[in-house]
């Protein structure tokens, strides 16, 4: 039926290299999530701080992250900032780009989550003598993280998918980069990218499953 002969063996022979790439992809995505969550908490605090400057910084960050393409952000992190003489390796640029994006989106999620937490919660904490920061840290934040858990899982999947944009800044060790390199050597485009697609799909499923298990362990209330 098709006028095309599949050569799956060629692609499958490269599977070990692609799996190595998958590991790098996971590393970048996980790191960008961990740092992204921490930054998003800080941005959220900035926005709550009441300081014009701090909340201005946080708001600009969030809006730029949410209103420009991720590809643009990653390209900027490499070639844009280099115009100021700051050089990041492809790996770092990719990590920074995705982290910037993650932090922006998560901060916005956190803001939504905060609205769902009655302010009597913080008040009850303050009434017990907890400081403002303690009330946030021990009472508000855990609830905020729980409410945003599903959006966080989605963001994690996004982070995985975004690693594919690393090739634009010279990344060649992640799953997409490895696949593209192999494609340059062999030109078996369809087979190689089909294998990569399956790996990406499995990774996202594992993450979603893991998140569900994690949620069950973490949120018993």
């Amino acid at each position: 039926m098709f006028n095309y002969t599949f050569q799956w063996k060629q692609a499958l022979a490269r599977l070990p290299q692609m799996l190595d790439g998958a590991v790098v992809t996971m590393q970048v995505a996980l790191l960008s999530m961990a740092i992204g969550i921490a930054l998003a908490v800080v941005l959220t605090l900035f926005r709550l701080s009441g300081s014009r400057i701090l909340s201005g910084i946080a708001t600009s960050w969030v809006e730029i992250a949410r209103n420009t393409p991720a590809l643009f952000q990653i390209y900027m992190a490499h070639f844009g900032v280099a115009s100021f003489g700051i050089h990041f390796s492809p790996w770092t640029s990719l990590l920074l780009g995705i982290t910037f994006n993650n932090a922006g989106y998560l901060a916005e999620n956190f803001r939504g989550a905060l609205k769902a937490i009655p302010d009597t919660q913080a008040r009850a904490g303050r009434s017990l003598g907890l400081s403002e920061l303690q009330a946030f840290r021990f009472i508000v934040m855990p609830q905020m993280l729980r409410i945003s858990f599903l959006p966080m899982t989605n963001q994690m999947v996004w982070a995985i998918l975004m690693t594919s944009l690393g090739v634009t800044v010279g990344m060649n060790t992640d799953l997409y980069g490895v696949t593209q390199d192999l494609n340059a050597l062999t030109f078996r485009t369809f087979e190689l990218f089909a294998v990569a697609a399956v790996i990406f799909y499995l990774i996202t499923k594992v993450i979603q499953l893991g998140a569900r298990l994690l949620a069950r362990r973490m949120f018993r209330y």
Partner: protein
């Protein structure tokens, strides 16, 4: 009817050309495609008696563009490796590149071996990228970065993100001369087998490939090859496309 008939019937020849690869392909001030490969495609279309259509691709994307039927042939400086020939059909070489090592001014480097241990890069999917990545692996030190296009490579080199790159002598000279990329210099020739590049078409289109072979032959015979070389590359002799001691 085979592809050759289709092209003639449709009155249109679609060529994949890489347009950030001066002097082979680039854009003029009006952002129109120009360059050796663009002229080459136009010549071919004229010979076929059809209209030429230039489709810009990146290096990694030129084969998918061909194989997915978005272009009829590739005039895109494609190196004729045996690995690739398993997938696409190559004509006889229509050009041959020698490669040069280009370095950032701030980096000390006397010859090509100075690249050892440095951060080097090239355009993903090219002959020189494959060679350079192999070298870096062999040296066991330093770092290799493939960028999506030639411009990004030189941008990174000029910004100091890369210490050195390997590119065709033509591209290297054009980029150094243009002044678009301040702070770079040509260091040395790269010790590679000349990079013979061929036109590409679908592997099964023998009629078309035969036509391409004859066309290339005619270009050399009629002196058009030398003319285009003079127009786009400059003085000197264009590379010899024959190989001693072997048929074809």
């Amino acid at each position: 009817a085979d592809k050759l008939d289709d092209i003639i019937a449709s009155g249109k020849l679609r060529c994949a050309v890489v347009l950030d690869f001066p002097p082979m392909g680039s854009r003029d001030a009006n952002n129109q495609p120009i360059g050796f490969d663009v002229d080459y495609c136009n010549d071919l279309a004229a010979a076929l008696g059809v209209q030429a259509e230039i489709v810009e691709t990146t290096f990694p994307e030129r084969i998918p563009a061909l194989v997915s039927g978005q272009v009829d042939i590739g005039v895109a400086s494609t190196s004729d490796t045996l690995e690739r020939a398993k997938t696409v059909g190559f004509s006889i070489p229509y050009y041959a590149f020698e490669n040069a090592v280009v370095a950032n001014d701030k980096v000390e480097m006397a010859d090509w071996e100075g690249m050892k241990g440095k951060t080097v890069g090239a355009t993903a999917g090219t002959y020189e990228a494959i060679w350079l990545e192999g070298q870096v692996k062999e040296w066991g030190e330093g770092q290799f970065r493939p960028y999506q296009n030639q411009a990004d490579v030189f941008l990174a080199l000029s910004q100091g993100q890369l210490d050195a790159t390997v590119s065709t002598v033509e591209v290297a000279e054009a980029n150094v001369k243009s002044g678009n990329f301040p702070g770079i210099r040509i260091v040395d020739k790269a010790p590679m087998v000349p990079d013979y590049v061929a036109l590409i078409a679908l592997r099964s289109e023998h009629g078309l490939i035969d036509y391409l072979n004859l066309f290339i032959n005619q270009q050399v015979r009629t002196g058009r090859y030398a003319e285009l070389y003079a127009k786009w590359v400059g003085e000197g002799e264009p590379a010899d496309l024959t190989i001693k001691g072997v048929y074809r």
